[in-house]
Each structure stands twice: as C-alpha cells, then as structure tokens.
C-alpha cells in the first residue's frame, strides 16, 4: 500500500514538474518564480517520499515536521511560483482551451471565488488543521494510508489556498495589510495548537509512545513555525508599506484635484461615459468589447460587460476607469493604458501578462471600452 502511494506521489510530482517547466519555457517568467516552485517541489518531495515519511510513522516530531514543511514551507513556495499560470501554459493549446472552458464555467468560477475568499481560506485552513489533530482522525490517518494521503492533501491544499489568497490575491480584494493580519491569526491558532500539544498531560495519539516526542512535536508547531510566520508577516508588512507609498506617490496633488473634480462631475449616464471614453482615447468602446473577446482577455481578467470574462488569474478590471494605477506603478492615463495593453513587458518585464500583439487600433478600442468601466 505504502509503495503504491509512493509511486503515485512520485508520478504526480514528476508530472506537475514537467507541466510547470513546459509552461515556464513557453512564457516569460520572473526569475524567482521557477526557483521558488522548484524549492517548494523539492520540499514536498523530501517530506512525502523517503526517510522522513518512514520515520514519521514512529516519531511524532518528524511527522509534525513533515506537516509543517508541507503547510508553511512548500505551500507558500509553490504559490510564489504561480503554478496555475505556468501549468496552464504548459498544456497543449487544445488541452489549455479545454481546461479554460471548464474553469471559466460560472459554477466553477463561483466556487473558486467562494473558497479563495479571504476569510474563507483563513477559516477553512484553521478547521482542517484542527480537525485533523483530533485523536480519532489523526490515528485514522496513521493506520490507513489512504486517509493519510487525504490528510496530507488537505493540509497542503488548504495551506496553498491560504498562501495563494494572501500572496497572489493581492490586487483583488486583499491588501497586504489584511494578509499580515491573516498570517498573524494563523500563527496564533497554530501556536495555540502547538502549545496544547506541548502542555498536554497525556499522550494524544496512542500510536506515538513517548511523551517527549509529543512535546517536541508541539514545540515544532509552535516556535520554529511561528518564526516562519513572523518572517512572512514582516515581509508582507513591508510590502504593504511599499504599496501604500506607491499608491500615494501617484496622487500628486494635480491628479488628486483632477480626480476629485472628476468624481464630482462624472454622472451616472452610460452615454456620457462612452462619449468621455471616446474623447480620452479616440477609440470605439463597442469595438473594444469584441476585441477583448477576440484576444481572450477574459481568460485572466474579470471584465464587467464582457460575457464569460470572470477569471481571477489577473486583477479584475472593474472600475478601472477610476483607478489611480495600472500594473502597480503606472499612472492611469490613456496613453499608459494603451501601452500596457499592447506591450506589457515594455513596462514591467516581470509581468505575467503576455504580449498578445494587439494592434494599435484594437488597443485604442480596448482602452476606450475599459474607460467606460467606472
């Protein structure tokens, strides 16, 4: 049984690695992304296959280390590597289209949105973590390989969702500030669980015989893991500050005044918005809408008014007409928007947004459409 699982795990992992790096080759990835992915992948491999897994049947502390590696080392590293984008690009074009068709189904998208909602990931991960430590469940996992595999999978997947929501979901609903808070909350409940294990008067799991072993396991969950959380939290915090500065810099006072005037004057009628967008860009919003469908923007973005454009790979584009920034650092002017649409890498070489060879006319039209979104 164990052997079967080892083989399955190895196969799945090799498949994922191949897919990922095919994807990396066919797109332009930031340097650190494949590295992070590879590191995360190696961590999983080390945790699930080999001596650590064998030892984990005997030593609780090793088992705990294995879980912590999966949840707070491998999961964030993998998430930093953006497996979904590169995985997608690693597929053959027809397979990609199929996958996209499935993932773009409203039901799938809705579910995905629901389970990656900020509070949801926090709670789901917490529940999974605590529920699996109930003696009955944990013992079950120890005695049955299938349950064990499910346990590891759930740990990893919920952790990955958690880290995904706080690292990659940033331009959506989450700011880094919330991310810091979530890291803090997770660090707290994890360390409370660790502390409970450490201070317990009796053994929780009959399969592990030594009291010291359980205490060590609790400590591993509490202190070294807590340290990783602190480092992650501080990094996110620094990012938060940086982001706030970037945002504020753009609103030099001319823009601020302009925008305020803008807000005050802009009225509710779509007709006016269209006229305005035309005036700003010289493009035709209605044509832009069809161009958006043609170029497949909806595969990555959520764009109001465009059928099927409900994806969450890239940031949603609702209200883009009133945003201050594009791509994190570019002031939102018509010229910049068009430039960004047509040649993203010329602005941010590390951007995951591909160059789709948009024509000048189409770029203008797309920008015009986007500027009607307020």
């Amino acid at each position: 049984m164990r052997l079967v699982f080892d083989i399955l795990v190895t196969l799945a992992m090799i498949a994922s690695l191949t897919l990922y790096f095919r994807g990396v080759r066919s797109t332009k990835a930031r340097v650190y992304e494949p590295i992070a992915f590879a590191a995360g992948w190696l961590t999983i491999f080390a945790a699930l296959v080999g001596p650590m897994d064998t030892l984990s049947d005997v030593l609780f502390a090793v088992h705990m280390t294995q879980h912590e590696l999966l949840m707070i080392v491998a999961a964030p590293l993998i998430v930093i590597g953006r497996p979904m984008i590169y995985g997608l690009w690693g597929l053959s074009p027809s397979a990609r289209a199929n996958v996209l068709a499935i993932t773009r189904a409203p039901a799938v998208l809705k579910t995905w949105r629901a389970i990656t909602g900020p509070v949801v990931v926090l709670i789901v991960h917490a529940i999974v973590l605590w529920a699996w430590h109930i003696p009955f469940a944990f013992e079950g996992a120890l005695h049955n390989e299938t349950i064990h595999a499910v346990q590891h999978l759930m740990f990893f997947v919920t952790a990955a969702l958690f880290w995904w929501a706080i690292i990659q979901g940033r331009y959506g609903r989450l700011g880094y500030g919330v991310a810091v808070f979530f890291v803090f909350a997770t660090a707290m409940h994890t360390s409370i669980l660790g502390a409970l294990l450490f201070f317990a008067h009796g053994r929780w799991y009959p399969s592990y015989h030594s009291m010291e072993d359980q205490q060590l396991a609790g400590l591993i969950m509490w202190i070294p893991s807590g340290l990783i959380f602190i480092v992650a939290g501080l990094a996110l915090f620094a990012a938060w500050l940086g982001e706030s500065e970037r945002r504020a810099k753009a609103s030099s006072f001319t823009t601020l005044l302009m925008l305020l005037l803008f807000c005050a004057c802009a009225n509710e009628y779509r007709g006016d918005r269209i006229a305005e967008a035309r005036q700003l860009t010289g493009g035709e919003p209605e044509r832009g809408k069809t161009a958006i469908q043609r170029y497949g923007c909806g595969t990555c973005h959520t764009i109001p008014g465009v059928p099927g454009a409900k994806a969450t790979v890239g940031p949603p584009l609702d209200q883009i007409g009133v945003r201050t920034y594009l791509a994190g650092h570019l002031i939102n002017t018509p010229a910049n928007l068009m430039k960004w649409i047509r040649a993203p890498q010329s602005i941010d070489p590390k951007s995951a947004m591909p160059d789709m060879f948009v024509t000048e006319r189409d770029g203008r039209d797309i920008a015009a459409y986007l500027y009607t979104l307020k």
Binding site: I123, P135, A195, L196, H201, G202, F253, L257, C263, A264
Partner: protein, 204 residues
C-alpha cells in the same frame, strides 16, 4: 451651505463626496471586524482552555455527563443556519438600495434567530450537569454563556433593525449598517458550529 475656500490657497473640495460608503471604506466596518476579532479571540481562548482541561482527564467528558438531547441542539443549529438565507437576501439588497427584500429578509431572519433563542433556552434547561459539577461543566457552560449572550444580542439587534426598517423613514446611510448587522449575525451563526460539534461529539 458649505465651507468656502480661503483666498489665495489651493484647495481640495470635498463637498460633493458621499456621506456613507460600503465595506472597508466605512470606518464602522472596521469597528465591527475589530469587535469580531476580539470576540473570536475570546472564543479561541475558551476553546483552548477546553482542550487544555481535556488533557487532565482520562475520560472526557467526565462520567455522568448528560448533554442536552441531540435533536434539540441540532434544531438550534438548523434555525441558525436557516436564518442565514433571509439575511443573505437583505445583505445583497442593501447595496442595491432595495428596501422590500431587506425588510422581508430581516423579518424572516429575526424569526429564525428568535426560534434559535427559544431552542437554546430549552437546551440550557435540559443540560444534565452544572457549571459547578466539574471543570468540564464549567468550561462548557462558559462557552454556552458566551454564545448565548451573542445569540441574544444578535437577535435583539435583528429585531430592532426590523422595527426600524418597517417604521421608516429609512435613510440610505443605513444600508452599510444593514450589511454589518448581517455580518455580525453570521458570526453568531458560524461561531457556534465548531462548539456544537465539540460539545456534542467530543468523547473519549
């Protein structure tokens, strides 16, 4: 009738800005979530104390403990879960400024939450141990007390909101508060589920 600009300086005119906002733009939204953070911390600490005390006993719960009947406690949970649906209508309708669904949502939500209060009262009356029986009794009663406190205040809040909504006139400014009431109520609902599972099914 608003402030006019001082002579000879540049100014930012905020006179046209709206007088309320939804979600994290609204300070009260932060107030509510901070309150929930405080209350969640309390719940987490109670749960931690529960598990800490659990470690002291070889049999848990201690012998002779009779819980309230499962069907009764399940009834409370069902009432709580049902109340989510109408409050969800209200939650959605609030941002669309549609009064009627909000009114109906809150009316039904209040009824469901009141039902939960009633079953909770029966639950408390049928618990077969006292808070002074043993540490188990103490911690479980503490959890019950904390949650019942929130249940009651949430129900009262729902009822008050319903009255205000039906009595009118309703200001647009109230809509963010409607959504916050819903969030608070869902917190009351969601926070009970893990405790319910632990109290009813945690046996060794």
């Amino acid at each position: 009738m608003s402030e006019t600009a001082p002579v000879g300086r540049r100014f930012v005119d905020v006179s046209e800005l709206p007088m309320f906002a939804f979600g994290p733009r609204d300070p009260i939204w932060w107030g509510l979530w901070l309150l929930l953070a405080i209350e969640s911390t309390m719940f987490v600490l109670l749960a931690s104390s529960y598990f800490y005390l659990r470690g002291n006993e070889s049999t848990w719960p201690p012998p002779g403990v009779h819980q309230a009947p499962l069907w009764l406690t399940a009834l409370t949970v069902v009432a709580l879960l049902l109340s989510v649906i109408p409050t969800w209508w209200a939650f959605r309708a609030a941002i669309q400024f549609r009064l009627r669904p909000i009114q109906i949502g809150f009316l039904l939500g209040t009824l469901a939450s009141a039902a939960a209060c009633v079953t909770r009262a029966y639950e408390l009356a049928t618990i077969g141990y006292n808070w002074n029986s043993h540490a188990y009794g103490s911690i479980v009663w503490a959890i019950y007390f904390m949650h019942t406190f929130h249940l009651t205040s949430g129900t009262v809040e729902n009822a008050v909101m319903t009255v205000l909504l039906f009595k009118g006139p309703v200001e647009k400014k109230l809509m963010p508060d409607i959504r916050l009431s819903c969030i608070y109520w869902w917190f009351v609902v969601v926070s009970w589920i893990p405790f319910w599972i632990v109290i009813m099914f945690d046996k060794s």
